[in-house]
Amino acid sequence: MTIPFPQIHWAYLLPVLLVVGGAVFVLMWDAFFPQRERSFLVTLTLAVLASALGASLAAQPGSEAASMGGMYLYDGFTRFVFALILLSSFFSVLLSAAQRSLEEVPAGDYLGLILFATSGMMLMAATRSLLMVFVGLEIFSLALYVLAGFLRGQPEGNEAALKYFLLGSFASGFLLYGMALIFGATGSVDLMEIAQRLTTSPPSRSPAFLLGLGFVVVGLGFKVAAAPFYMWTPDVYEGSPTAVTAFMSVGPKVAAFAAFFRLLLAVGPRAGAELDAILWVMAVLTMTAGNVSAIWQSNIKRMLAYSSIAHAGYILVALAAVRRGSDLATGSFLFYMLVYALMNMGAFCVVVAAGARGEERTRIEDYAGLGYTRPALAAAMALFMVSLAGIPPTGGFVAKFYLFSAAVKVGFVWLPVIAVLNSVVSVSYYLRLVVLMYMREPGEAPARPGLLGPGWSYALAALVLAAAGVLNFGIFPSSFFELALRSTLLLN
């Protein structure tokens, strides 16, 4: 008897293999040559991520998108999401290298974990199988639990790690149980087969299936920090090292949203109107909770955490539109994630660059007068804030416009209205920071800390990259939006 070897498309698999291989290599290298320069490993990691990005851009998704029985799926959507995840990892490595408080940590372990987390996110986004969604999710979650508490001496970091771990595992439990129920109701964990079963023999009204779907939504909702599962976000974001926070605010969200997306595309049209209502309520609650809570924050990382919750709420609007079957929504989702990744990474990069050795500038008050002491940094921050607030001519505005118009297009009325009102509210806390930077005398902050540390070139690179992107997507968004739109063509 011969066992048929499953067909494997190495070109499609290459990006993931590169990242995993790089992770192992970095980890081993540090174990064997611990005395080597830290910058070597950073450069190596960046190179790994860049080559993975190149490999995924080079691999044109063809007709044979699915390999290994649907466990691994490489289509246009995957390609775009890979680019997003790799970009966010790239940024967070730059930020990690720039952050003073991370200078003393063992670089190999740290960078290895970042790469492992990246591979988990990629796997989660590039699959049709619920099992792989779970495995990918756990791979990156476990890595992030460790990264959150990586500065072992800091009690806040430890607390963040434990909170993230307990709440995250709790949510994973729901996710897994939900998958079990869906498996029982449909006999498969493959989204395509599930969709087929749902159309041929409609068990879609069976309680087991609906309960399972609800539990899966809980698990994914936790990862994207949707209400009412967002409470971990501010605590964990505040406690983790800033570079890790930046990573957490983009990468896992992209991956979880991607999985959410595939799930909705498969079961959405057949899952009935309740899902509509649930997504609607979730989106409204999430953006309102995020925006309103952000207003009274005094810690900038918490403020950015709530801001990221609010943005998750906006993206949920796109998800709700996707369930109603809109190409525009998929395109605008991808475009929004792209712009969000850039502006959020940029903002965190300013936080990193503004910090000094041993002491980060995390209180919003610390930013008073930054416009006078460090004008370039303040200008960049102002740009990112304006973009997060969705004020033209930045990418944030265009992205929001696409997103809300997609919702309008599929016939939502109140959802875009509430979203617009929410973004109106959000302007107040984003601009508060800008006003503080330019309209307040500098406090007792050290005159010129931080940037002159050894990592300044990394911070500079990240800042320039993010700022250029945000402006470019604000002024010339068309070509990239077309790309995002095209990326959805090969879906299912």
């Binding site: 099992l131 476990l142 639990y145 508490g149 307990l166 079990a180 924050q297």
Partner: protein, 100 residues
């Protein structure tokens, strides 16, 4: 052989016990054990369904889940140990540096 419902009810009981335990217990290790209980409830459901649907997938998935749970245990316990070193306590209510 017992009907499918029995297995499912047992798995639901396990899962619910886990959920309740997570919410009401204060000790981080016990909370973590309860999370394991939730995962095992899910595992039981997978195996039971797999067996009744004549599909290998159910059992296959359980192996993955067990591997993941093992990794989770390693990391979770490490974090708890770290916390214990700092505060001499594993009570989750003592985690109160980060709030608001």
């Amino acid at each position: 052989m017992a009907p499918l419902e029995h297995y499912l009810i047992l798995s639901a009981v396990l899962f619910t016990l886990g959920v309740v335990g997570v919410v009401v217990r204060r000790n981080a290790i016990v909370v973590f054990l309860c999370i394991e209980l939730m995962l095992n409830g899910a595992n039981l459901a997978f195996v039971a369904y797999g067996s009744f649907l004549d599909s290998l997938d159910g059992q296959l998935i359980v192996f993955f889940v067990m591997a993941v749970a093992a990794a989770e245990a390693a990391i979770g316990l490490a974090i708890v140990v770290l916390i214990y070193r700092h505060r001499e306590s594993t009570d989750v209510d003592d985690l109160n540096l980060l709030k608001l």
